[in-house]
Each structure stands twice: as structure tokens, then as C-alpha cells.
């Protein structure tokens, strides 16, 4: 069923269309929530709150941009609001915190790697991972992030840089990422001359 048909059904408050829409997008949206949340239960709470907003505010969707993108924005804002109730986004945490990551075995390597990457993101301190999620994955600018999280734009930039460094080390540690070696050909050719 197309998004257009589902949208029309949801506008009429049709329970079946709402369920279809939920089934279609909830797996992806839950994984988004999971990247922000402290636990799976928190992620499901965020998802529930987010989808209720989606269904109650669906008349505000104006066909600008993709429907999925609109849902994603609502879900992300719901996650941020959820986090803002309890947390501050200016905190900085030691790299040592990231060493305790537990990753379960999985039979499909691509899924395993995706899961590992997500778990590595989730192992970052909350301030780091929120900024990283918003900037690197959701595509918000630092200015927008600053506004959303009520922090300085510069804070968002520095958080992002630190988060990225921390995550890179983690991914290397977990053998997911291997840094490219420095390109030294230009140096050796200069020496030859």
C-alpha cells in the first residue's frame, strides 16, 4: 500500500490504515529511538509517544518532502524532548567508559556490523551520541542542533568532534573500522629527487 493511500486512511482516523503505517515504519523508527535511548524500553516509550504525535498531527503534513522524512522528524524531536526531561547535553565523559561494550554474535555479517555500529554509537555518553546522531545520521546542522538541545552552536561542534573521535577508536577496537594508512608516496618521491 502506498504512503498516499495510508495517509488518506490516517486522515480519516482509520485504525487499519494507522496500523499499516505503523507496521511499515515502526522498525526503522524504533532503531532511531534506540540510538538515542538508554534502554530498549525507553526506546519503545519514545516510539509510542512519537507515533501518537504522528497520527494526531497528520493533518499538518503538507506533502513537502517525503512522508517518511516527516515521520522521522517527529520521532527525533520526540526523542530529544524525552531526553531533555532528564539529561544535559553539555556533559563530557572519559573515553575509558566505552571499553565495556558487549556485542552479541549474529549470523548475518551485514546485520551484525550494523548492530555493532549502532551499539557503539549507543555506548557513547548521552551528549556525544545525541549530537552525533543528529548531525551525522539525521543530517541536522550544528545551528539546528544548538537550537534543539538548547546549547551553543560551538558546543555542538566540539561535542561532535569528540564523539567522532571516540567512536572511531571504538570501531577500530571492535575491528569494524581500520584507518587508512597515510599516503606517503609524495614523500618518497621527493626523497628520490
Amino acid at each position: 500500500m502506498t504512503d498516499e493511500v495510508l495517509l488518506q486512511g490516517c486522515l480519516k482516523n482509520d485504525a487499519y490504515a494507522q496500523q499499516e503505517l505503523y507496521y511499515k515504519y515502526s522498525p526503522k523508527m524504533l532503531s532511531v529511538c534506540y540510538r538515542y535511548a538508554k534502554s530498549r524500553e525507553d526506546a519503545e516509550d519514545m516510539l509510542q509517544e512519537g507515533f501518537i504525535k504522528v497520527f494526531t498531527q497528520i493533518s499538518k503534513y503538507e506533502n513537502r518532502g517525503s512522508f517518511e522524512g516527516w515521520i522521522l522528524r517527529i520521532i527525533v524531536h520526540t526523542c530529544i524532548n524525552h531526553l531533555k526531561k532528564n539529561k544535559k547535553f553539555n556533559e563530557h565523559v572519559d573515553l575509558a567508559y566505552a571499553g565495556d561494550l558487549i556485542i552479541k554474535e549474529d549470523s548475518i555479517p551485514a546485520i551484525l556490523q550494523a548492530k555493532q555500529v549502532v551499539e557503539c554509537i549507543r555506548s557513547l555518553p548521552i551528549g556525544y551520541r545525541t549530537v552525533l546522531n543528529l548531525f551525522a545520521i539525521e543530517g541536522y546542522s550544528h545551528k539546528e542542533i544548538g537550537f534543539m538541545l538548547e546549547i551553543e552552536e560551538s558546543t555542538s561542534r566540539s561535542q561532535y568532534t569528540r564523539a567522532k573521535n571516540m567512536l572511531e577508536e571504538l570501531l577500530i577496537k571492535k575491528n569494524i573500522l581500520q584507518p587508512k594508512k597515510e599516503n606517503t608516496k609524495w614523500l618518497s618521491s621527493m626523497r628520490a629527487h
Partner: protein
Amino acid sequence: MKRYSKEELDELLKEKSDQYLLYPSDRVWKNIHQELHPSNGWRYASLTVLFFFIASLSIHVKKNELSKGLINNKETLYQYIETPSASLANNTLQLPEIFIPFHGLKQSNDATSINLLASSIMHANTIEHSNEISLPKNISTLPQISLPTAITTTNNITKEEKKHTLSETIDLVVTTAKKISKDIKWQLYGGPSIGYRSLEGKATRNIYQYAVYSLSTNAVFARDVKDVVNHRPAMGFELGTAMIYPLSKRINVRAGIQANYNQYQIKAFSAIPEIATYAVNNSNSSTPLSAVSVYRNNQGLSPATIQNEHYMISLPIGLDYRVSGTDKLNFSVGSSIQPTYVFANFSYLLSSNLQNYAKEPSLNRNWNINGAVEASVNFEHKGFRWSIAPQFRYQMLSSFKEKYPIKENLMDMGIKIGIIKTIK
């Protein structure tokens, strides 16, 4: 392991995050659905409101009847208090040896007791009657009171008569409520009914099955079950017995046991045996239930009629309200709640793709709650009381368990004929 530059890290994160999917538990959708469509509880709410309405009405009527009894006999009591002016001059008055029910006041000969008795009656009476007479706070002032002429005309009643009148009056008041509560009745009833059902929802899948089947079966799953089912009513019956306890002259409460037989018919087609699958709303299992089907919903070898039958036993508890008439002939309305156990269920369930009918007993619900309303004409004939009542019965919960996505609520419309005998 891939080699990534720092610049490519963002791409990696986005790519891997997009690949990662998580499936939420059923709880999430249930909560969302409940939040968006809270009206599902209207049946319970309306029934509860109806029950409490009738219950409060019965209390109100009972109070009024008690008050009426007091009002009717109050005048005589006033006569007794007012008339013997000679005796009152000494502030003494002989009262009969009885126990006065109001406020647990025990009879005594002093004037204060009379005053309290009068106050009690005034208190028990309603406000609209309070302006008929105003009694003094002190009995010694009684001779100066100007009383209504209707009362003062009875001054020629003898002392013995007065004593007798008061005794009768209070006895009558005391026994009014007692008399009402003693007429317990027994009722045997039964009658034919027409059984049918309401269907709600669409066949659907759980979230795992959505991911698996969405490409091939979306069109099928978009259809409403009401649009693809051809069903029609069929005859059923009910048989029961109840004890009836009067709360007041107008209100009765009744409780008993009742057997119901409900059936309806489905137009289908016989077919060669095939597997019918039932996708259930259960996150613990992504494998649908399956059963062998010899009936198809749309096309098949030849037209066939399926009988869905239910045998139930229930415990109705309800209230009746007499709208008009006398004990010999009256018109009443009533409602009841009936916890019900379905002890035999011969039902064919529609498969998830809406194509097949098959029996899948694991999806049937055994315990349910019925609600019934009725309007009855009651009359006396040859020492028995008869009741003829058109009634409507509705099953509150679906015939199927929660995990089956289609909701079915049985309903019966029938004529209940009853015979009632007073046993006490």
C-alpha cells in the same frame, strides 16, 4: 574489515544505522491504538452507567415510599399530640407502650419525648411538607399553638381511640419497608431468539508477517471483513430460572442461571481441502496458526451453508423497573449483566487472507460477558404471574481471543416468556 577515512565515517554511520531495524513489541501498538481509539470501552461504560442509574433510582423510590407512609399517617399523629389540652396543661401525656422507631427513641411519659417524636417525624418528612404545621420547641407552649382547622375538628376522639390510632400509625410505618422486602419470587422463563453477529476489523498480520507478506498480499489485507462475508441470522433459544427480590414496589433485583443457544449461518462454498492460515497478534510467534479448510469464502465446488453454533451458560444479574400499571397488570423495563461460559463452540473462522473457513478452537474465547435489555408485560392469571418480554442480548467481548484480529460480537433478539410464583 573495510578501510575508511575519517571523512567516510559519517557515511558509514548513516549506512549502518539505516540497515539496522528493530521490531517493537505488541504493547506499543496496543497502547497507541488505545490512545487513538479510546471509545472501545463504551459498551462497558454505558452498561455500568445504566446499572448505577437503575440502582440509584431504586434507592430513591424506596425512600419516597417510606416517606409517603409517614406522610399519610402523620396527620393522625398530630391529632394525638394536639388535642388533649387539659392534660397538656400539666405537661403530662399518656402514650401507649410501644417502641418508637425514630432515632431509637424509647417511649416515656414526659413532654420532651413527645417533642422529640414530633421532630423526628418532621425530619423524616420532606421539606415540601414542613409548612403544614410548626411544632413548638417546648411542649409547654403547645396550648397556644394555632393548628390547621382540619386537624382541630377531630377534638372529639376519645383517649382510647387516640392510643389505638398512634399505635397503628407507627406499626404501619415500621412494617412498610419490611413488607416490601419479603415477597421473594421465583421465575422460570424461556423463549426463541434470532441469533446474529457483528463483525469488526480487517484481517491483519503482526509486524513480522507484515515484513514478509506485504509485497504480495497488501490488496487482500486492505479489505474490510464486513465486505467479504455473507452471513445471515438463524434461530436460537434461551431457557433459565431466576429469583426475584423486590427492592421497592417498582424495582426488583433478579439473579439466576440461564442456558443460551445461539447460531447464525454463513454462505460459503465447499472446496477441496486446503490449508487456512491465521496470523495472530502475538510478538512471541511469527509463525501463523494453520488449519485444514474444506470451505472457501468466494469460489468453490458448490455453494454451502456453514452453521456457527454456540452453547452457553450464564448467570444473569439485573434490575427491573415497573414503569406503569398495578400488581395485576403492569409494564416493566429491565437490564442485566450476564457472565457467560461458552461450553461448546462449533464455529468456523475466516482465515487471514479472507479466503477460507476452518475451525480453530484455540482462538475461541470461553468466558464472556453478555448484556441484555428487555421490556415486559406482566399479568396475573390463575394464581401465577406471567411475563412476556421482547429482549435484546449483546455479547460484550469478542467471541475470539485478543490475538485474533477479527472481532465478533454475538447478538440475540427474542421473546422471553416467563412464569412467576411468589414463594415467600
